[in-house]
């Protein structure tokens, strides 16, 4: 597979995401097209990851798990990073759009992060010999996911929409501190998890399959965000449309 194929697909998907934000007329159907493309790419990822990619030098065929594990974690970082950005944006200028985006990005990030961690555990069993190892990367990733689970719990427990948005924005920024800690944990501490690879240290074939996995999950990330954002906006509208509580009638 030529290396430029996943690059072109990446540009197409990123362009679709920008078009969805910028052009209102394409919003009803563009996310469906991207989701359909994602299904096709996902089938392609199964073929590329299971058959096309060469076995890794030491992990052999178990290394094929990386083509799905790493992109899931990348999507989690993307979602949580978007959450932090929306949190800052809301605190600077209150907007229900940014609040809904923050809620959507947190949930989508938890999905990809949890799936990525589970895949990592499946990979660790034949390579490290254990399902779980309390090393810095795994601990920091777990803390990061639990922080955002707490973020969603806070949102569900707070009834007042404006208070919910403000409090969760603050919690989102605090939770965002875990992002660089998780990313650099393999460099700052002695971790069993390997450090990040670079384009120079990865075989080109493997790199192209990894990029294909990134584009595939991006094709799911985008419609997930669109639909989850719609749910969040609908919940906001419903919450603000509630009539005020009736005052208790005074005793005669």
């Amino acid at each position: 597979m030529p290396a430029f194929v996943p690059l072109i697909l990446l540009v197409v998907v990123l362009g679709a995401m920008v078009a969805h934000v910028a052009v209102a007329s394409v919003r009803p159907w563009l996310w469906k097209a991207v989701a359909a493309l994602g299904v096709v790419l996902f089938i392609g990822l199964w073929y590329l990851g299971l058959f096309y990619a060469p076995p890794e030098a030491f992990m052999s065929n178990v290394g094929r798990i990386l083509y799905v594990h790493v992109p899931n974690i990348w999507m989690a970082f993307l979602a949580f990073g978007l959450n932090v950005g929306c949190a800052f944006a809301y605190l600077m200028k209150k907007s229900w759009v940014t609040d809904a985006l923050a809620e959507a990005s947190a949930e989508v990030g938890i999905l990809f992060g949890a799936v990525g961690v589970a895949m990592g555990s499946i990979w660790a069993r034949p390579t490290w010999g254990v399902w779980w190892d309390w090393d810095p990367r795994l601990i920091s990733t777990t803390v990061m996911l639990l922080a955002y689970v707490g973020y969603l719990a806070l949102r569900s427990f707070t009834e007042d929409p404006e208070r919910r948005a403000t409090w969760s924005a603050a919690v989102g920024i605090l939770s965002g501190v875990s992002l660089p800690i998780t990313y650099y944990s393999v460099r700052w501490w002695n971790s069993l998890h390997q450090v990040q690879s670079t384009t120079a240290s990865v075989d080109k074939t493997m790199g192209s399959v990894l990029l294909w996995g990134l584009v595939t999950l991006l094709c799911f990330f985008f419609p997930f965000m669109v639909k989850r954002y719609e749910i969040a906006r609908a919940n906001q509208t419903a919450a603000m449309a509630l009539p005020p509580l009736e005052p208790r009638p005074e005793a005669a």
């Binding site: 052999s60 065929n61 999905l111 799936v115 895949m119 499946i122 990979w123 390579t127 509208t237």
Partner: protein
Amino acid sequence: MKSLLLALALLGAPVFADIAPEPAPPAEPTPPAPPAPAPAPSHPQGIEKAMGSGVIQGGWEYVYAAYILGAVGVLGYAASLYARRPKPSENAP
């Protein structure tokens, strides 16, 4: 005289028979047998092949499990989004 002493010894032996005999020295525990030496690895192509190449063998079940988990995660979340989709009446301004 000697015969008298011998007679006394023979006659006195039963007298001292009820005295608890000296306990027998405890039997020393037999040391465990040394483990049998591991058989030398053998391989038709020599010892280097017998020691293994350091590459994980097999593991396809883990690969399939990971890929299926990815598909289940995506499909499951898509289903949850569909189930929670806002109804048309909820979209009314």
